[in-house]
């Protein structure tokens, strides 16, 4: 069973155990197909081209996730419809960069998105510019509507994709997969070339001149998780002390 079968299996499993929750607050968009091609140049920088085909004219907002040594060259982002380039406004919220369409936009059944991503480290996250919406496949069609392809330069035979999981294509240096939805990044490891293993620091990795660190609050998630773990451990420790303590004389016929 190939990727299509897995996608159908996943889709039916969620129908089976579906919760009513929907991750996005923006309206769902009916999509026919999404194609993402990540072509990595000899210098390690990536050129990403995306194509979205919707079943009707829609207005789409986009976003992408930045991180240390993981950013999009801002001036390189181009969003086009059938009528030509669309001027998106750019705003940042935490590590996410939001691309908002102009209010006068009528909507389009097709979008082409392209951008450049520099490479700084041997293992790098390539941001994926993705719609800020859930993409829905047409009724009756396969749910897996996202095709992603990563192409390493000819000289980098050892290049691999770490996340999402991809399969090597028949063409050397090419990896591909199909998914139900777009990932926020593709993580690759270069097999050749001299690059540092670790990102130099939170401010590095951006050609925009600004910091590509991830400003904004983490919502104290680290403390919440720590508090949770400490609570669990404390509970178990105190409970087991009580459970292991020697008891008094038995009250029941089968006590021991």
């Amino acid at each position: 069973m190939g990727t299509r079968g897995w996608s159908t299996a996943i889709a039916a499993l969620f129908v089976l155990i579906a919760a009513p929750a929907n991750a996005a607050e923006a309206p769902n968009l009916p999509v026919q197909s999404v194609q993402v091609e990540i072509r990595i140049g000899g210098d390690g920088a990536a050129r990403v081209q995306e194509r979205y085909r919707f079943t009707r004219a829609v207005t789409v907002g986009f976003r992408y996730l930045t991180g240390p040594c993981s950013d999009v060259v801002p001036g390189s982002i181009s969003v086009k419809g059938p009528a030509g380039p669309i001027d998106y406004a750019r705003a940042r919220t935490g590590p996410w960069v939001l691309l908002t369409p102009p209010t006068a936009l009528d909507g389009s059944p097709e979008y082409w998105v392209s951008y450049n991503v520099p490479s700084w480290t041997r293992t790098t996250n390539i941001p994926v510019v993705l719609p800020s919406h859930v993409l829905e496949a047409p009724p009756g069609a396969a749910m897996s509507i996202v095709d992603i392809q990563v192409i390493f330069p000819g000289g980098d035979a050892g290049g691999t994709v770490l996340l999402p999981q991809m399969q090597p294509d028949t063409r050397a240096g090419t990896w591909s997969t199909r998914m139900l939805a777009l990932p926020s990044f593709v993580r690759v490891r270069f097999g050749s070339g001299s690059r540092p293993d670790e990102c130099p620091g939170p401010g590095a990795g951006s050609e925009s001149g600004g910091s590509s660190s991830t400003p904004g609050s983490s919502g104290s998630l680290e403390w919440s998780v720590l508090g949770f773990v400490v609570s669990l451990v404390a509970w178990v420790v105190f409970y087991m002390r009580w459970a292991n303590a020697r008891q008094g004389p038995s009250n029941g016929a089968h006590n021991s």
């Binding site: 499993l13 590590p95 999981q165 997969t177 777009l182 409970y239 029941g252 016929a253 006590n255």
Partner: protein, 483 residues
Amino acid sequence: MTSGGHLTIFLGLVGLYILVVVGIGLWSYRRTSDEAGFLVAGRSLGPIVGGATLMANQVSAGATIGVVGFHYFSGFSFAWTWLLCWVGWLVAALFVAPKMRDLGQVTLPDYFAMRFNSRSAGTISAVLILVAYTFLLSAQFQAGGLLFNLVTGSSYLRAVLLVAGITVLYTALGGMVSNAYVGVLKAVLLLAGYGVAVPFLFYNAGGLHSLGEALHAIDPRLTGFYFSIRQLADMGLILGLSLAAAPYEISAIYSLQSRRATKQAIGYSFVFQGMIGFGILLFGMQMRKIVPFLPNADLATPVLGTNVLPVWVGMLVLLGVVVTFTRTGGAVLLTAASALSHDIYVKLLRPAASEREKVIAARTAVVLVAVIPVVIALGKLDLVNFVVLFSARLIACCFFAAVVIGLNWKRGTPAGALWSMVGGATTYLVWTPLAHPYFLGFDPAEAGLVTSLLLFVGVSLVTKSSPEETLRVFFPADDRTAL
């Protein structure tokens, strides 16, 4: 490796799992020569195996898929329901489990019949268990059957029969002993899969700080409180209180070696639950960062297993989902079968049955009881999660008051127990279609529980107690815990 490799590995792992559980069933067969051996493992389970059994009963596909989905759409705060659920287990450890274990009985209806000196109470509770658990079992078969159907390509009929067949086979062979050791296998598989998957996610998707920044920017509630305290209590506390009186957990408690082992087993269950809960929390939140716009939150686990994690790790995580279907199904099936064989057939029709006859009746009941859930599963009654939650909450409204208060309050009477069971269940059934999600300010389970508590206390105060010799068994003269 091509995506077809996913299927090969998955089928290989499932095949290996089937061989192992059948082997456990055959090994257990020899240790189940009498009814106590079959239904309660001869009261031989130690604290660690007992803890794995209690955890395996509780952690179903609702956790490995449903709770991951909850964390995907709501973030961190749902994690607190584990501790709220543990409050219910604490009630069990303090007020229920040790006394239940000491009774040396076999089923929860045994307790009702003994405590309230009432064959009717025992029979009514057995019928309620049979009905509620028939639907609960159908949900497990339906979920597992559809997964196999879609993953392997076989027909849905054959897939349901395969899942039911695995569950029936190891349960009919080894009863509670099989269930206990398959529960250990479940704990090992879940912890192994999560133990590799969590570090992989941290290394490749980032640590807690970057995760928090990504989620907080999407919605601050994801790193704070998405649910109110009351909503968390409704979800966690009521589930925990229902476990204190859940028939399949009571059967597991009867199976433990001693009062001390009972308390320790609950503690080990906390350890297993805590580790699994931590993994589930991180899976859900990391998936929201990695694939932020899934069509439905419950897709988080399947997409994690097939698209995010390395092949072997991903398939191990999905195998864990399969194991939860069949293992929880086994516990539910054994408890429902014991209601039929022990509480109805032996007690009402064949009280003079030999131990061999009782074991044959129990094994036969395992097969018979599985038939109706298979038929229901083939008809696809409703969404699995709805059926599971509905059945669990119904059980809580039926039994919580009569079990927890009955064990600790001398004044509880047979009439009080009967009224509380019937009143609690009726209130829950009537309230459910009216509540969106509350009616008159109450959730259906809250209303059912309050009704059953009030009826138990109110009716008991105006009706006759159980005979003194019965009460002496439950409330010895030197028992300081009795009210």
